[in-house]
């Protein structure tokens, strides 16, 4: 029968019961994927990001566990034993060389753990100093990012929620801090703060961490929260105006529900990503300051201070500079690449 397209007759075919085939078509073949699962899948597809992540995890695990099983400690001068004259044969050993007493021991048949990267000019095992330096650098990067996250999130949220005069004042402060030359301010503040807080923390637990590291954290807390605050404020302002928030409000959702179910899940990925990207920049700042002599207090090593110390004996022991240099570059590069991968995988606004 020829169908008249202008006919008002109901097409009866549309009302026949569904066949088995039709029903099978509607069956859910697999559970629906969540946002998180989607993101992880996209992240794993990104080979560069996956490799970077593996490198970061590997370095972190090394920095955590090697000091526990390694026979030497980072501040142990191998040539110095109580009650004996200093054995200078331990100073400036090349990789896989041994000090005099160690050679005697080996001839006697004992096993001596090798100095993989040799020792430094005070007879300290260089490999464990590198591992410790990595540990310090990673710790500083991680905690500095957490500090930035907490302060930035609080101020950004206040600025975004309150609006009005509060927002205006906070934004002008953000503008000014943003246009300050950050590195110069960091150098100035850490140069001065470490002197100023020396007496204040004398004898407390904080003194062990060292004045320079504390002033570094203070500097981060003072200066680096601005971009995080801007980001959070922007997120809150734009999310507040979204249609789904409007519809939730129209159906009678309370503020707490909207924050829990809409605002936090939608902004969390952006926050995590920018925190992740903050870590390499903090590590970079720490090593830069250590290089200028404003980093961790001796004998504690950090990658920057190791590189800086290596400059003095550069012509004889260039590997002492090259090793920390490679480790810093590797950490910063792989954290950056992993952060980029995270952003590509988890920022739904970038999905094409």
């Amino acid at each position: 029968m020829k169908k008249n397209s202008f006919s008002f007759h109901v097409d009866l075919d549309a009302f026949t019961p569904a066949s088995q085939e039709d029903k099978a078509y509607m069956v859910q073949m697999r559970p629906s994927s969540t946002f998180f699962k989607d993101g992880v899948k996209r992240l794993l597809k990104n080979k560069v990001a996956t490799v970077s992540f593996i490198i970061v995890v590997f370095i972190t695990l090394c920095a955590l566990f090697i000091p526990m099983i390694y026979p030497y400690s980072y501040d142990q001068m191998l040539g110095v034993e109580p009650g004996k004259p200093v054995d200078a044969s331990y100073n400036n050993l090349a990789p896989f060389e041994y000090g005099l007493t160690e050679q005697d021991k080996m001839e006697a048949g004992e096993k001596v753990f090798p100095h993989i990267f040799g020792t430094d000019e005070q007879g300290r095992d260089y490999f464990i100093r590198i591992v410790y330096g990595t540990r310090i650098s990673l710790t500083v990067g991680f905690f500095a990012s957490i500090i930035v996250l907490i302060i930035g999130m609080t101020i950004g949220a206040i600025s975004g929620y309150c609006g009005g005069v509060v927002d205006l004042i906070i934004q002008r402060i953000v503008d000014i801090i943003y246009s300050l030359p950050d590195m110069l301010m960091v150098i100035l503040l850490s140069a001065v703060l470490s002197e100023a807080i020396k007496d204040a923390i004398e004898g407390t637990v904080l003194a062990k961490i060292g004045t320079n590291i504390i002033s570094l954290f203070v500097v981060f807390a003072l200066l680096y929260w601005v971009s995080m605050a801007r980001l959070i404020r922007g997120q809150i302002l734009s999310l507040r105006e979204q249609e789904y928030v409007l519809s939730a409000r129209a159906t009678g959702a309370k503020a707490g529900w909207i924050i829990r179910k809409h605002l936090i899940p939608n902004s969390i990925s952006v926050v995590i990503i920018s925190t992740a990207l903050q870590i390499p920049s903090a590590i970079f700042t720490e090593s830069y300051l250590s290089f200028l002599g404003l980093g961790v207090n001796a004998p504690m090593p950090s990658l920057g201070s190791l590189a800086s110390a290596a400059l003095n004996g550069l012509s004889s022991y260039p590997y002492r500079l090259v090793i920390p240099a490679i480790v810093i570059s590797l950490i910063v590069l792989s954290l950056n690449l992993f952060g980029d991968g995270l952003r590509d995988a988890f920022d739904p606004k970038l999905n094409v």
Binding site: P181, I187, F284, S287, F291, L311, L314
Partner: protein
């Protein structure tokens, strides 16, 4: 130029002035927070000598008055007071001494970074996804993630010590070559990536297709249409580039022993020469703020398509 642009420039100018004032104020009060004050020295002084010193430098006056005097001296006479460790010289003299070589170093680095970066970026964009593009991108990624002090030290090891073909000391003949390369590599890599992405963006525009359809030759399209517009984002990088070169020059001048303002700054930090720290911070900060201001304004003025907030 319309009133909106003028208003924007005024707003940015005001922000720059406030920023400079904040820098000076923070510097002043932060160094006053050091126990013993900025003129503290290692040697134990007698009470009279201490009092005489304080009277000489005006430290016996209330902090508010000191601050006003300090601010007035800087603004009207460019006077930062005497240096602590370099006896008989003022901070201004020390800064002026180092300024010449530092400006030379910075300018050569900035211009070579711009020239090489733009050329490499254009090549990468025009040969997109070809072998040469991939090589350029891999190399620039490596340069971007390497801190300047690492780069400088590695160059020093390779070219001055292992190969011994270039001088390690910045004061020798041709001694500025390695410092310039160290300073220029990061901005060069950054500009390359910036030019590449903006060039790719421009090449996809309608007016390029129109020019192609009208039969304009390839070279003419690149130099007449594409390059000009793809350089606009590069302008925004002028400010950050200068900030990078300034902070980078601190370590580079330390590594290569260049007698510039950066080395004076680093030495003043290790020697706790507070007046010099304050003076150098303020001078460098003003430099960076001005450059940021110029590049921001230039960016808005150059491209009429950009709307002002």
């Amino acid at each position: 130029m319309n009133t909106k642009t003028l208003f924007y420039i005024l707003k940015r100018l005001l922000l720059a002035i406030v920023t400079v004032w904040v820098v000076i104020t923070v510097t002043f009060f932060v160094t006053r927070a050091v126990p013993g004050g900025p003129f503290m020295s290692e040697k134990a002084l007698t009470a009279e000598a201490q009092a005489a010193l304080e009277a000489k430098y005006g430290l016996d006056k209330p902090v508010g008055e000191q601050y006003v005097t300090y601010l007035k001296d800087i603004v009207t006479e460019f006077d930062f007071g005497p240096s602590l460790k370099q006896r008989g010289r003022t901070v201004t003299e020390v800064i002026m001494d180092g300024m010449g070589v530092s400006i030379k170093l910075g300018l050569i680095a900035a211009f070579s970074a711009l020239a090489i970066g733009i050329v490499l970026g254009s090549i990468a964009a025009l040969r997109r996804n070809k072998f040469i593009d991939k090589v350029i991108m891999v190399i620039t990624t490596a340069f971007v993630s390497m801190p300047s002090f690492i780069m400088g030290s590695l160059l020093l090891v390779i070219f001055a010590i292992k190969l011994a073909i270039l001088p390690a000391n910045g004061e020798a003949d041709g001694g500025l070559f390695l410092p310039v390369v160290t300073l220029a590599l990061y901005p060069m890599a950054y500009i390359t990536r910036l030019t590449r992405s903006s060039m790719l963006d421009v090449l996809g525009q309608d007016y390029i297709r129109t020019a192609k359809a009208k039969g304009v030759s390839g070279l003419k399209i690149i130099f007449g249409h594409a390059l000009k517009n793809s350089l606009i984002p590069v302008i925004t990088y002028f400010g950050p580039m200068l900030a990078y070169i300034v902070t980078g020059s601190l370590v580079v001048e330390k590594i290569f022993a260049v007698p510039g303002i950066g080395r004076a700054f680093v030495n003043s930090i290790t020697g706790r020469d507070y007046p010099l720290i304050m003076g150098t911070t303020i001078v460098l900060a003003v430099l960076i703020v001005i450059m940021n201001l110029v590049s921001d304004i230039l960016y808005k003025v150059v491209d009429p398509r950009i709307t002002l907030e």
